[in-house]
């Protein structure tokens, strides 16, 4: 039977742009160009490699996000995924991680899956907890933060490099896996891939398709509330000296004046 892989990808504001908050204290998605989160490219890459190693596999890329989030799906499809699912609904504006995980869980079940692949964290929210929550909601093993992953005979194995130790993990499918940016560079879409992506199917779903009440999600339904967002004060301009042979000594003087030495 075909291995059904669902990759969760997020459309995020470009980190190198001037990101800020909208008036309602949600992430301003208009001011800065969006893109497929770089950290989710690693998940797409591993999905492609796992699919290659399997006899038969199908990769669905799934995103929850505004209209423009289709761009993230297109990018993933041009890398080689087979089809896309876009959950889009005005009532989703301002949804937090608990709500997003609810939507993703329903959507993943709607698609049908053996393996869900996620990035290690989104580059805007940077929480890194959604994959664990998704596993909790789906009631399947979480095999997260892997820097190496393989799937064979219904078993997923991988290496998790933690603070104190490096662990070798193993679980039965179905499972939720997340991969780090150590898992292997993501491929660039080829011209052929980009052309092919235009013809790949993208299914659009809204909350009612997934049987989710609007008041369970969105800013109003959020489990957390941002009460204030302030731009960090600019650091006061420091002293910059050019090394004319005494740079190390000058730096030492500074460290002495600040009582570090």
């Amino acid at each position: 039977m075909s291995l059904r892989i669902v990759v969760c990808v997020k459309y995020v504001p470009d980190a190198t742009g001037d990101r800020h908050f909208a008036e309602d204290l949600t992430t301003d998605r208009d001011a800065v160009d969006g893109l497929l989160s770089e950290l989710d490219e690693y998940a797409v890459e591993q999905a492609l490699q796992i699919a290659d190693a399997a006899d038969d596999a199908e990769i669905t890329v799934l995103t929850v996000g505004p209209e423009d989030a289709k761009d993230a799906l297109r990018k993933a499809l041009s890398m080689g995924a087979d089809k896309g699912v876009h959950v889009e609904d005005d009532d989703l504006h301002g949804t937090d991680v608990v709500g997003t995980s609810l939507v993703l869980a329903k959507a993943v079940e709607h698609v049908g899956y053996d393996l869900v692949l996620c990035g290690m964290a989104s580059t805007d929210g940077t929480m890194g907890v959604l994959p664990a929550i998704l596993a909790e909601r789906l009631g399947v093993p979480q095999v997260t933060l892997l820097s190496e992953v393989a799937v064979a005979d219904g078993t997923v194995t991988g290496r998790r490099d933690g603070d104190a130790a490096s662990e070798q993990l193993q679980a039965q499918l179905p499972a939720v896996v997340s991969v780090t940016d150590q898992s292997g560079e993501a491929r660039y879409p080829s011209f052929k891939g980009i052309m092919a992506a235009k013809k790949k199917p993208v299914e659009s779903l809204d909350l009612s398709d997934l049987g989710i009440d609007a008041d369970e999600v969105g800013l109003g339904g959020a489990w957390t509330k941002v009460e204030d967002a302030a731009k960090r004060p600019e650091r006061t301009a420091g002293t910059i000296v050019k090394d004319e042979g005494e740079g190390g000594k000058q730096l030492a003087e500074f460290l002495v004046s600040q009582k570090f030495i």
Binding site: A121, V143, T157, A165, A230, R232, D243
Partner: protein, 320 residues
């Protein structure tokens, strides 16, 4: 006074510093009840009591070491049900965040991750976070359920505040999901003998400018003269010059030391994300246009191979 659950990060009974910082924050919100799991759990009690734990709930079972994350969630949930706390605080390690998040969903609560401060508020604890690569500071609150908040290392001082610290055994029943992910083997990280990167008061980092693994001793020698931890940019790590466990930045460690010394690092947004909240920042870079200089309190435009060894000699000479 309401009780606050504090999840204890420890290695065989030795409590790690971020947990002691967490106790400082917990005392602002209520009476800390600590939860220590796994091998050596009961040995944590004395230290936790010294820092304000009124109670220490302990549990040990082979499951904690043999399966990933979920057994610890089951235990923390048991503690939550036994105590009915006003909040649950967990150190912001990768594992800590996952434990906290799963607990939050189970108990129908919201979660805030990577707080850098917590204060008591009229509607429950208010968490400060540093977001968008530390360009913004936000204040947030959990608006549904019992607040579950993870807190980054170096977010509060460690304070002595003696309390009873009575040890109580926590009874835990593992659910069906507990044995889902088996930890087949574990290779402990070798200690460099230097301070822990996320806990260090001083971090000395090297980037692409270090130009080779064989040159990193220049960075290490400065670090050792200052008693500092060694960090690296992703460029240095990707090139294989330094281990990934030392990477500072968005996909590495997030550090917030008293002093951060960046050598041969340009200061890309993803690097800044992991070090921008450092109290004092200094840099050595031969390019006067490098963005890292926008952050520094003191910067030297020059060749790190000239400047850094000279600095190391000065530090050694002054420390005698």
């Amino acid at each position: 006074m309401a009780e606050v659950l504090v999840y204890v990060d420890h290695v065989d009974g030795a409590v790690r510093k971020p947990t002691l910082e967490l106790l400082t924050l917990a005392r602002r919100v209520g009476e800390p009840v600590a939860v220590a799991l796994g091998n050596g759990a009961a040995d944590t009690a004395a230290t936790l009591a010294e820092h304000g734990a009124v109670k220490v709930l302990t549990a040990d079972a082979p499951e904690f070491a043999e399966y990933l994350v979920v057994p610890k969630v089951d235990a923390l949930q048991a503690a939550y049900e036994a105590v009915s706390p006003a909040a649950v605080l967990v150190p912001s390690s990768a594992e800590g965040k996952e434990i906290a998040a799963r607990l939050a969903v189970r108990i129908g609560s919201g979660i805030i991750t990577d707080a850098v401060d917590i204060e008591a508020g009229a509607d429950g604890p208010v968490a400060t976070q540093s977001v968008f690569a530390a360009a913004f500071t936000t204040k947030s609150r959990v608006s549904k359920g019992t607040p579950v908040i993870t807190v980054k290392p170096n977010s509060a001082p460690v304070e002595a505040a003696p309390a009873a610290g009575a040890v109580e055994a926590l009874s835990v029943t593992f659910g069906d999901a507990a044995k889902g992910t088996k930890i087949v083997s574990r290779t402990p990280r070798e200690s460099s003998g230097r301070p822990e990167l996320t806990e260090a008061a001083i971090v000395v980092s090297g980037g692409r400018g270090v130009n080779g693994a064989e040159n990193f001793h220049v960075i290490e020698e400065l670090a050792d003269s200052l008693g500092a931890a060694v960090g690296a940019s992703r460029a240095a790590v990707d090139a294989g010059w330094y281990p990934h466990s030392n990477q500072v930045g968005q996909t590495g460690k997030s550090v917030s030391p008293q002093l951060y010394v960046a050598n041969g690092i340009s200061g890309a947004i993803q690097h800044r994300a992991g070090m921008q909240t450092s109290k004092t920042i200094v840099a050595v870079n031969k390019d006067p246009e490098a963005p890292i200089f926008d952050l520094v309190d003191y910067g030297v435009v020059g060749d790190l191979f000239q400047v850094v060894p000279q600095l190391t000699e000065e530090v050694k000479a002054r420390k005698g």
